[in-house]
């Protein structure tokens, strides 16, 4: 089996090569188009569209057969499928725009009704003596493992088409995704762009449908794009990444299904894509669960540290009348009272500050800011006061109220904003007095 595995992964057998590369390209195309759908919150459009193709298949088959042609002539079938598919999507848009019904209901209506009509037609065809319509069912289950060169070529053409259109219309499509109203006011034909996107979706869906089946093409249109979203907030990167993940899922899934040949290929490929999704959801740098958790934890720590330093500074200010401020040591008890920290919480913050060399513990048990700590503390306090002054002057907030508000914002003040504040308030001296009495404050949670 190991030999088989390496052979497969290296795409040695021709059939494997066709299947794996074909599925890869399909995954890439779906990932790309799926990104746009994701951004427009229309991820399930592939679901609706693929179900809506059934009547078209049946009608095309019936039409071609009655004209004496081969009922299973693929381009004819694809044309029929695409026609009703696009018709279905138009209905979805129309229902959404002309009634109080929302997108989800519109999609559901089109999906089930069109599919029902398709079944009616198919059953009628089956009842006509002398017709073989068995192949039509491959549209639901796909025939991934028996993909042939012509399928492969069709997929390649589809992928190229998607890449080309996306590249040419990238700015317009981006605008369409983010701000259709703006696009409309700017004069872009939003309806046309909408239809263009729908046409792309229809193409990918129909081509994919007959190659890999219903469930897989729906999954391909949704999963890679959603997975890619966890890694970036940048649209261009999203498009590339989604294409990449789609391709890799396709490669991995198809290779695995070639090795485990007794499992349905479509299902294996979906599972492969889903595993990438799971990993992305957990570890994706931009929006993954774990990175977000770590970022929030770091922010909490930073906030806690800054509060500690500022409190220390304020205690020093309170205990000394002369300026410039002397860096004396203060008692733990005083610190605790200043901000109603919990004992454990405070201990953790102090430990952190000592690790960062901002705080020192004296032999007497009292705490003292280090030199760097003192500088940091005075800077932080100054920023806090700057923001308080800003709130008083420009937001008309009473001096006794600004402390809490400043508390929330001050940690986000970068150097640039600090300079702007200084200019705005004409306060450039090294230390700023507090605009209000400093009393014990509750820690905002």
């Amino acid at each position: 089996m190991i030999d088989g595995l390496t052979d497969t992964l290296l795409l040695k057998p021709y059939n494997t090569r066709i299947v794996v590369l074909g599925v890869m390209m399909l995954g890439a195309a779906s990932g790309l188009i799926g990104s746009f759908l994701l951004l427009r919150k229309q991820s399930l459009l592939g679901d609706a569209l693929s179900h809506a193709t059934l009547p078209g298949l049946g009608l095309a088959f019936a039409a071609m057969s009655s004209l004496g042609l081969d009922g299973q002539y693929l381009p004819g079938l694809l044309l029929g499928a695409a026609t009703t598919g696009v018709l279905g999507v138009l209905f979805v848009l129309a229902i959404g725009r002309t009634t109080k019904l929302k997108d989800d209901a519109a999609m559901g209506i089109v999906l089930s009704v069109f599919f029902g009509i398709g079944i009616v037609i198919l059953r009628m065809i089956q009842n006509i003596p002398g017709q073989t319509s068995a192949g039509l069912e491959s549209f639901i289950y796909g025939k991934t493992a028996s993909m042939i060169t012509s399928d492969f070529v069709l997929i390649a053409i589809t992928l190229s088409l998607c890449l080309l259109v996306t590249f040419l219309a990238r700015k317009e499509l981006v605008l369409l995704c983010f701000d259709p109203s703006l696009a409309a006011t700017q004069g872009w034909p939003v309806l046309f762009l909408d239809l263009l996107l729908m046409a792309l979706v229809a193409t990918v869906t129909v081509v994919g449908l007959q190659a890999v089946g219903l469930i897989l093409i729906i999954a391909f249109l949704i999963i890679p794009a959603t997975a890619a979203r966890f890694w970036t907030n940048n649209l261009r990167h999203l498009l590339w990444l989604a294409t990449f993940i789609g391709a890799v899922s396709g490669w991995l899934g198809a290779s695995l299904s070639a090795v485990f040949a007794n499992f349905p290929a479509g299902a294996v490929i979906v599972i492969a894509a889903a595993s990438f999704f799971l990993m992305s959801m957990l570890f994706g740098k931009a929006r993954g669960v774990i990175p977000r958790f770590l970022r929030q934890r770091d922010l909490r720590r930073k906030v806690g540290r800054q509060h500690l330093l500022r409190s220390t500074y304020e205690i020093l200010e309170k205990s000394q009348k002369e300026r410039p401020l002397k860096n004396l040591s203060i008692s733990l008890h005083l610190l605790q009272k200043h901000r109603f920290w919990g004992k454990g919480e405070l201990a953790k913050l102090i430990r952190q500050a000592r690790i960062e060399d901002h705080l020192e513990r004296q032999p007497s048990g009292e705490l003292r800011l280090s030199e760097s700590g003192f500088g940091e503390a005075s800077r932080i306090t100054r920023n806090h006061r700057l923001w308080e002054m800003y709130l008083i002057k420009h937001a008309d907030i009473a001096p006794s109220h600004v402390d809490r508000d400043a508390d929330l914002v001050e940690h986000l003040l970068g150097a640039e904003i600090v300079h702007q504040l200084e200019a705005e308030l004409a306060l450039t001296q090294a230390t700023i007095e507090s605009p209000h009495d400093i009393q014990a404050e509750a820690t905002p949670s």
């Binding site: 109080k100 559901g108 029902g116 009628m124 999954a219």
Partner: protein, 311 residues
């Protein structure tokens, strides 16, 4: 057109089925979760497969339990992806149900031929075979009253759904229209949410064998949507949903028997026709109803999208 007792059986099952679906479907519509019906009908597959593997039987009760569990898991996983992954709801649904369906397929295939679940049967149903499996209802001195087993199953589901909706009417209503208020009032919208999911999942399975998953989805969504265009209050909305569902079922079977005669064919899929009829009813109301397209509203078609709702 040959009309016999079997046709009555089929219509009865169809009507019960349609109404059983329309009820939870109405609430799904109000909650903007219509596609959940489609998702659930696919996602129950692993539940059914596992239930079969564990119990070794295809008894309805086992299947129901499997479906209910799968329904809960689907809803649960979707919630997780939405909350923790901050993924948009429809995308989350798509990820979850396709994955679960794939897992279901794998289990079925792996259990090789141990699992006697014909995917095709699950999809299309076999409404026409309903009369073949009859169950004795009661005996009088002269007659043996029998009804199709499917009717019993679906009828029970309909009654159960009706009972649940009646019992929890306040909770369903409030949590559908104003989940936040429901929460502050102490109703548990989450519980209602999962209850609704379980209802849809079990109804789906009950209907599978009789009419196939397609009509389930159709009846979950289309009759309530049609009713939505006409009704402005909850009571009439629910009533109309049931009415249109029943109508679609009746007309559907009639049509499946008669329309095909135009083509010289004996008949076509009853369940497919029921879905078609539901669609036609919707089309009719959409075009000619009180706020239909044929009234002054042609301009609506080209109107730009509504501003996105705050979510």
């Amino acid at each position: 057109m040959n009309w016999n007792i079997n046709d009555f059986y089929i219509i009865i099952v169809g009507v019960l089925c349609a109404m059983a679906c329309a009820l939870p479907g109405a609430f799904l519509l109000l909650r903007r979760m219509s596609m959940m019906g489609d998702a659930l009908s696919h996602a129950v597959l692993p539940g059914l497969a596992v239930a079969f593997l564990i119990s070794g039987s295809r008894a309805s009760s086992t299947m129901f339990i499997g479906a209910a569990v799968a329904g809960v898991f689907t809803a649960l996983f979707t919630q997780w992806v939405v909350r923790f992954g901050k993924v948009e709801r429809s995308a989350a649904m798509g990820v979850v149900f396709t994955t679960l369906f794939a897992i279901g397929l794998l289990i079925i295939e792996k259990g090789a031929n141990q699992v006697d679940l014909d995917a095709r049967c699950v999809l299309y149903g076999a409404l026409e075979y309903t009369p073949l499996e009859l169950v004795q209802l009661f005996e009088t001195s002269n007659y043996l009253v029998q009804i199709p087993k499917a009717a019993v199953v679906v009828g029970a589901t309909f009654l159960l759904n009706g009972l649940l909706v009646a019992l929890f009417f306040k909770e369903f209503t409030l949590s559908s229209f104003d989940p936040n208020l429901a929460q502050t009032q102490g109703f548990h919208p989450q519980v209602i949410h999962y209850l609704l999911m379980v209802m849809v999942a079990t109804t789906t399975v009950a209907a599978f064998e009789a009419v196939g998953s397609i009509i389930v989805i159709a009846m979950l969504i289309v009759p309530p949507s049609t009713a939505f265009l006409l009704a402005h209050r909850l009571g009439p909305f629910l009533f109309l949903s049931l009415l249109f569902a029943a109508l679609a079922a009746i007309l559907g079977h009639l049509a499946s028997q008669s329309i095909t005669l135009f083509f010289g064919l004996p008949e076509t899929s009853s369940s497919g026709m029921m879905a078609t009829m539901a669609g036609l009813l919707f089309l009719f109301v959409w075009l000619f109803g009180p706020s239909g397209l044929t009234r002054d509203q042609k301009a609506k078609l080209l109107r730009s999208e509504d501003p996105p709702a705050l979510s």
